[in-house]
Amino acid sequence: MMDIDRIEDEAAQWVARQDRSLDLRERISFERWLKSSTANRVAYLRLKTAWDGANKLSETKLDVRAASWRPIAAKVGLAAFTALAACAVLVFSLPAHLRDEQKSPAVIWAAANFASKHRSLALSDGTRVYLGSSTTLRTAVSGSTRSVTLERGNAYFEVKHDDKHPFVVFAGNRKITDLGTKFSVALDRSGIQVKVREGSVQIELLHASNSTPVVAGAGDVVITKAEETLLEMSPSSAAGRVSFDNASLGDVASELNKYNRKKIYVAETAADIKIGGSFQPDNMDGFESLLRRGFDVKVHETPDGIYISR
């Protein structure tokens, strides 16, 4: 009688190794093990077939979570917490039956001393998140909703596309809706900064019925301060324009100064003036005429800069 347990154990080991791909030495070892007895081969075929058969599960992405599963996120006990302190990623989760998808967030992720910037987390919908240092992110991702709150710090998202269930990030007083993207959100006391790597996001001001949402595409950076939105488009993006809405002149000037050798200097008296408009960032003439036309400011141009005052 064959030692079925041992053979199946070995076969399972080989399936698991194959699962992460074999190096040359392992491949030779595997072939030898396969050839050494039919029992080995047959056991391997059986387990490999079962493992490959499980690929059908990829069709169930959201179904899997709708069933009464225990949470996907790891439960970390106190002892484990101390052990993890070095890289300090803590994951807390509520048991499935206590979770109320609509109201209470299911999972809180916090990275205190972020050891490696390559460290990413997988949300249960397949979206990948990279946390910055001193970051707290609260996630509530389930079959029907995908919403995340950035409470502190910054995070970069690679969102798993799902038309029917938009991925939403709440940060400060803004709601960022993913429109099929890779983007980052950083939050500090003054406002948020959203940088879009791929795809686009929509950024709207919460509790403000008459504000217009901003759509940012690949290469765009959006900075907000309170109710202001300063949308910066990277010079390399197709549109190549900078636009802003209800932004303070001082902020607009600092953004533009990133693109131009000739700097804009704004006097304190004029710094808080709110302006809106859009033009190409290196088009200083355009900026100047915009200011002269629409705003109560004095513009004085010299070879080394543009001086704006009231």
Binding site: A12, A16, R20, L45, L57, T60, D63
Partner: protein, 198 residues
């Protein structure tokens, strides 16, 4: 030589392995020692594979498999001095009757996914997490390790555990997984449970 094996492997996976649920149910009903079922099944597989290798693939794989199984059981009965209540002819009758869905029907998409999910339910938390991240989200073992904060080798071990459970779950439609217990009692006279059952 490599090619011959490859086409044999493919044939084996296509024609023989889908018969496992039928085969296992048959073995369970006709052999009292639960723990030996896996052994017997393995022995049948080996014999079928080797016969196909040496004498060519059988035209009717299911009939061939059951013929092989029947012979194995007979041999074992003699060796173990088990007194079966039924007779050999009962075995023959049963083997030719197909009383459940064919492999194609059984593999109908929805049933298959349900079966897989039931199998996952039986896994420990950590092994299930690994299997889900691998299979549902297609994450590499390396990424799974990073995401769960465990070593890559540990992920590999969890996959090995998951694989065995997934394979075991093939045989039981009722959702019960048989654990591979090493405990069994071998005695000279074993009374068969209610004879040979269909």
């Amino acid at each position: 030589m490599h090619d011959v094996n490859e086409s044999l492997d493919a044939w084996f996976v296509r024609e023989i392995l889908p018969l496992e649920p039928t085969l296992t149910r048959f073995l369970r009903r006709n052999w009292t020692d639960e723990a030996e079922v896996a052994d017997l099944r393995q022995e049948a597989y080996v014999k079928v594979y080797e016969a196909a290798a040496q004498h060519g693939k059988p035209g009717a794989p299911k009939a061939f498999l059951f013929k092989v199984v029947k012979n194995i059981l007979v041999d074992r009965q003699h060796k173990d001095k088990v007194i079966p209540i039924g007779s050999l002819s009962d075995l023959e009758e049963f083997a030719s009757v197909s009383d459940e869905a064919s492999p194609e029907q059984y593999a109908a998409a929805r049933q298959e996914i349900t079966r897989l999910q039931q199998a996952l339910d039986t896994l420990s938390d950590r092994v299930r997490e690994v299997v889900i991240l691998r299979k549902v989200y297609g994450m590499s073992q390396r990424d799974v390790a990073r995401n769960l904060g465990i070593r890559e080798n540990t992920v590999e071990q969890h996959v090995a555990k998951g694989v065995r459970v997934l394979a075991q779950h093939v045989e039981d439609k009722r959702g019960k997984v048989v654990s591979q217990s090493k405990r069994y009692v071998r005695s000279h006279t074993r009374i068969a449970k209610q004879g040979l059952q269909t």
